[in-house]
């Protein structure tokens, strides 16, 4: 009798467990479906709707076709945007990575007040992007900015540089605040990775008389390489998407010098009301991001799948 009843009971238990598992997931699945998947579908659907419209609700009455794709992809400005995005992304993550690595190596040592200095060093990460932008607008101010003052005092410049309104300097002036905001993420992830490297490895190396550089190359770097690559990819994707810092400082100007793809998409949609073209720019951004992720898939697979 018992031998018959037991599997049946186990099955209902398993079914109840399964139902419980799905019930817990339900809110998240609904949220993702309604607020990520459906919006993505809307972007694709809108990318085929041609022309401009002030009435966003009547978009599906616009003509349907590939016109937006043709317009955007044959437009030289689009490829300029791609270039600006690439320069902005790499110009940000490389210096931010180096600062993050340096600070993480320092914070991985034992010294008094470490906890507080670590908190302070990570602080820029907690500042809203627009506030970062505003602070640097003031630091880089042409007449009264402290950066120009420093350069004047060092006799590096004789006339003031209008950083944000000069085409050749505007990109640098938006990259610097972005580096400042993003280095703490590297510090945090690299520090976390370093703390999982066994301490006795260093002690053994010290006994063997290995130099600090040799210890870094042979012990630290192999231990943090995986997380470092992941952090580079994630921060790269973040910089590629970044909107707040650039928009608050220059909104893409002067004459598109700082217009990344993200800024372009926004301006097309909300300044010129070409929702279709904006969506195409968005689709292009996603395609580029996917290519980037595809190239880094080996590293990502370990973390995400």
């Amino acid at each position: 009798m018992g031998s018959v009843a037991r599997p049946a009971r186990r099955r209902t238990l398993a079914r109840r467990e399964r139902r419980f598992a799905y019930a817990l997931l339900a809110p998240a699945v609904i949220a993702v479906a309604a607020l990520i998947a459906y919006p993505m579908y809307l972007i694709f659907a809108t990318s085929f709707r041609e022309g401009k419209s002030l009435n966003f609700l009547a978009l599906n009455r616009r003509p349907f076709g590939l016109g937006n794709y043709r317009d955007v992809l044959t437009d030289g400005a689009t490829w300029h945007n791609v270039y600006v995005s690439a320069a902005y992304t790499f110009g940000t993550i490389v210096p931010a990575f180096l600062i993050g690595l340096g600070t993480a190596l320092l914070l991985n040592q034992v010294f008094p007040l470490r906890r507080w200095l670590r908190s302070l060093m990570l602080l820029p990460w907690a500042v809203p992007g627009v506030m970062v932008s505003i602070i640097f607008l003031w630091l880089f101010d042409a007449s009264f900015g402290v950066v120009n003052y420093a350069l004047r005092s060092l006799h590096l410049i004789s006339t003031d540089i209008a950083w944000y309104t000069t085409e050749s300097t505007a990109l640098v002036a938006v990259i610097v605040p972005t580096i400042w905001k993003s280095y703490p993420f590297f510090t945090l992830t690299l520090l976390a990775a370093m703390q999982s490297v066994p301490v006795d490895l260093y002690e053994a190396a010290k006994v063997d008389g290995a130099s600090a550089w040799a210890r870094f190359r042979a012990i630290t770097w192999p231990g943090i390489r995986g997380p470092a690559t992941l952090a580079l990819v994630l921060n790269g994707l973040w910089a590629f998407r970044e909107f707040d810092i650039i928009y608050a400082a220059t909104a893409g100007g002067p004459s598109q010098a700082t217009e990344t793809l993200g800024i372009r998409a926004y301006n097309e949609a909300f300044s010129f009301f070409y929702m279709g073209r904006a969506s195409v720019v968005g689709v292009l951004m996603l395609a580029i991001a996917m290519l980037f992720v595809f190239l880094a898939r080996k590293q990502l697979r370990k973390e995400f799948f």
Binding site: L120, I134, R241
Partner: protein, 275 residues
């Protein structure tokens, strides 16, 4: 000799900190000095206390509805953070303990949200908000911020739940607890550092949001602090001390939260990466 090194290190790191935090220092200095001193060709790097005043703070609050904007930001941040945390803890726990079909899509969803630019997803959000009459509503902002928060928070919390042995909730269930109450009363308290780390992340994300607030809210009385701050820049002749004072005020809640909860963040990241 061995003793001297850590102190030297503290000094070195402190100096580096000063250099990296100079923008903060300059923001505060500008906020407390009179405009005449701020707009100088040779700025005073180390001002004396006699020159300082809180005039700019008073003026900023006087001239702009900063308190209202900060309150709006607070409502959106608390709402979005709580909403994301509840949804994500349930989902993260489920993903950590059970194998379901959904599992296969979670990594992909997270990756997708990491690739999805805010300035892109705001386009459909705008269309959806217009459809449901949610333009100018703080609810729309909460939902938009939660949308980006949930996938990431689920992932982070799953990592935490993975680190908590299953025996603990099994023991509670043998004692007569339902699975849900075992989760609420046994697992959630144990995962508190992880939940705290996740909460800081989410709160900072919502508090910083600019693209959703700028696009979904027109009415000035419903602006958040970020849209409010940017409105200073558009003005003819920016009043820098006022703007820096307003900016400094806007950072107080997040900086406090960050300084108090930062150890959780670091320990959270460490456990996460050892997973």
């Amino acid at each position: 000799m061995r003793r001297a090194r850590p102190l030297g290190l503290t000094l070195g790191v402190a100096l580096l900190c000063l250099a990296l935090l100079f923008p903060f220092y300059w923001m505060l200095v500008t906020a407390v000095l009179p405009t005449s001193m701020v707009l100088a060709r040779e700025p005073t790097l180390l001002p004396s206390f006699a020159d300082m005043s809180f005039r700019a703070f008073v003026a900023a609050f006087d001239r702009k509805p900063l308190a209202t904007w900060m309150l709006n930001s607070l409502i959106v941040t608390v709402g979005a953070t709580l909403l994301s945390l509840v949804i994500a803890s349930l989902a993260g726990y489920s993903l950590s303990r059970f194998r379901t079909r959904v599992q296969e899509f979670t990594g992909l969803t997270l990756l997708l949200t990491k690739m999805l630019p805010g300035s892109l997803i705001v386009i459909p959000f705008f269309i959806m908000a217009a459809t449901f009459g949610l333009i100018d509503s703080l609810w729309a902002l909460m939902l938009a911020n939660a949308a980006v928060g949930v996938p990431f928070a689920t992932w982070m919390l799953k990592g935490f739940f993975d680190g908590i042995p299953r025996d603990l909730e099994h023991a509670a269930m043998i004692d007569g607890c339902s699975h849900l109450s075992a989760f609420v009363y046994v697992i959630v308290p144990l995962a508190r550092p992880g939940i705290a780390a996740c909460a800081i992340y989410l709160a900072i994300l919502s508090w910083s949001d600019f693209v959703f607030a700028r696009t979904l809210i027109n009415d000035q009385s419903h602006w958040t602090i970020t849209t409010g701050l940017v409105s200073f820049i558009g003005e003819h002749g920016i009043d820098w001390p006022e703007l820096m004072a307003a900016g400094a005020m806007s950072m107080v809640p997040m900086v406090l939260l960050f300084l108090v909860l930062e150890p959780f963040l670091v320990s959270g990241m460490t456990t996460g990466s050892q997973r």
